[in-house]
Symmetry: C2
Subunit: 205 residues, 2 copies
C-alpha cells in the first residue's frame, strides 16, 4: 500500500476475513491502512474455513522451527485457492469503485512453496481479469500489480523503510499467542532473519 501511494494512487484497502484462526493480521491491517491514508477500508467475509484443508483455518498444527531447506515444499499452511478467492474479491471491489489497478503483496522469492504466489500464476490471473469483467470487456482492464514479487525479504523491508512504513504496526506470524508473534513459524523465521541481515531488530517483536 505504501508503494501504491508512492505511485500516486488513491488506495482503497481490502481485508478478507476468510476464517483465519487469529485476527491479529486483521487488526494490523486496520492500523496500517489508517496510517497510510486509505480512501476506504473494506472488510469482506468469506467462509474458507467451511471448505477447510489448511493449518491456517483448521485445527492443524502450524509447523515450528522448520529448516529453511524444507520451506520450498507446499506447507500445511497452504489454503486451497485462497489467493484466487482474495484476488477475485479484489477484482469485484476494484470494478465497483472504478479502480485502474489491484496491488497485491505476493512474493515469489520467500514464498514458502505457495503455488499462487508465482509470476506465472499472477499473469494467468491478469488474463482472467481482462475477460471476467465489464471493465475489461469495455476496454478498461484492471491491472494486477505485484511490486514485491521478485524482491527478497530484506529488499522488501528496505523498500518499506524508504517509503516510511512503520513495521511496528505490521503482523506476519501464522500462530500468535496473546497478540504476540510466536517467533517460530515459517513467517516469523523468514521475517526475523531478514531484519537480522539488515542489522536491525524487528520492531513488532
Amino acid at each position: 500500500m505504501a508503494i501504491a501511494r508512492g505511485d500516486g494512487t488513491e488506495p482503497y484497502a481490502l481485508t478478507v476475513l476468510y476464517g483465519q484462526r487469529h485476527l491479529e493480521e486483521v487488526e494490523a491491517s486496520k492500523r496500517v491502512a489508517a496510517q497510510l491514508g486509505a480512501v476506504e477500508h473494506k472488510f469482506v467475509r468469506v467462509e474458507l474455513d467451511a471448505i477447510g484443508g489448511s493449518a491456517l483455518t483448521d485445527a492443524i498444527e502450524v509447523p515450528k522451527d522448520r529448516d529453511e531447506s524444507k520451506m520450498t515444499d507446499i506447507p500445511v499452511t497452504y489454503v486451497p485457492a485462497r489467493n484466487t478467492v482474495m484476488l477475485s474479491l479484489a477484482l469485484g471491489y476494484a470494478e465497483v469503485v472504478g479502480a485502474e489497478a489491484i496491488y497485491a503483496g505476493v512474493n515469489a522469492v520467500d514464498y514458502s512453496g505457495y503455488p499462487d504466489c508465482r509470476p506465472e500464476y499472477i499473469a494467468a490471473f491478469q488474463t482472467l481479469a481482462r475477460l471476467a469483467t465489464k471493465a475489461g470487456v469495455e476496454g478498461r482492464p484492471i491491472e494486477i500489480r505485484t511490486p514485491l514479487i521478485q524482491l527478497t525479504k530484506p529488499q522488501i523491508i528496505q523498500r518499506g523503510l524508504e517509503l516510511g512504513v512503520d513495521y511496528a504496526l505490521t503482523h506476519s506470524c501464522y500462530d500468535p499467542a496473546d497478540g504476540r508473534p510466536c517467533g517460530h513459524c515459517d513467517a516469523c523465521l523468514i521475517r526475523l532473519k531478514a531484519f537480522e541481515s539488515l542489522g536491525m531488530k524487528d520492531p513488532a517483536l
Copy 2:
C-alpha cells in the same frame, strides 16, 4: 449435476451464499442436490453484497419485460467478478475433497451479456486453476467442465429431460415474490420462451 452423474462421477454440490436478495435459488439447490444424490452439499457464505454494484445484491431494480434484442448488453444484474469468486471457491473445495473436475452450468448462448460466461473466460480460468493449486503443481490439475456452454436454452431443457431432471424443483427467476417466479425478468423470459418452443409448460410456474 445430472450431466456430471451421467458422466459416472460422484458429485459434491456447492452452493454459494453471496448476499443474493432472495434465497429461492438456495432452497432449489437443496431440493435438486438431494434428488440427484450429491455425496455432500456444501454451503459457503461470501459477502459480495458488502462490495455491491449489482441489482442481484443491492437495492437496484431488476429490469422487467426487456426486449430480447437488449439482452446482449451487460445488464444491471451483472455481479462484479461473481463467477470468478464462485469458481475460486469451487476450486478450493475440489482440491480439499480430491475432485478431478468442476462442473459449472454457465451458458454463452443465452448468457444475457455476462462476460464471465464466455468460453474464452472459462479457458482462462482453466489455465489459472492449473497454476493456482497444489493439485495442479503436482500434475493433477482440476478440469473445468461446462457442458451447457454452447447449448441453446431449449437444448439444455431437453438434455435435462433425457437425464430425468425434475424442472419443478428448479428455480431461475431473479426477482421472485412469495416464493414464485416473477415471469418478467430476463431469466424468466428466456426460460418461458424455451419451454414454449418445446411445446411444454414450465413445471415451476
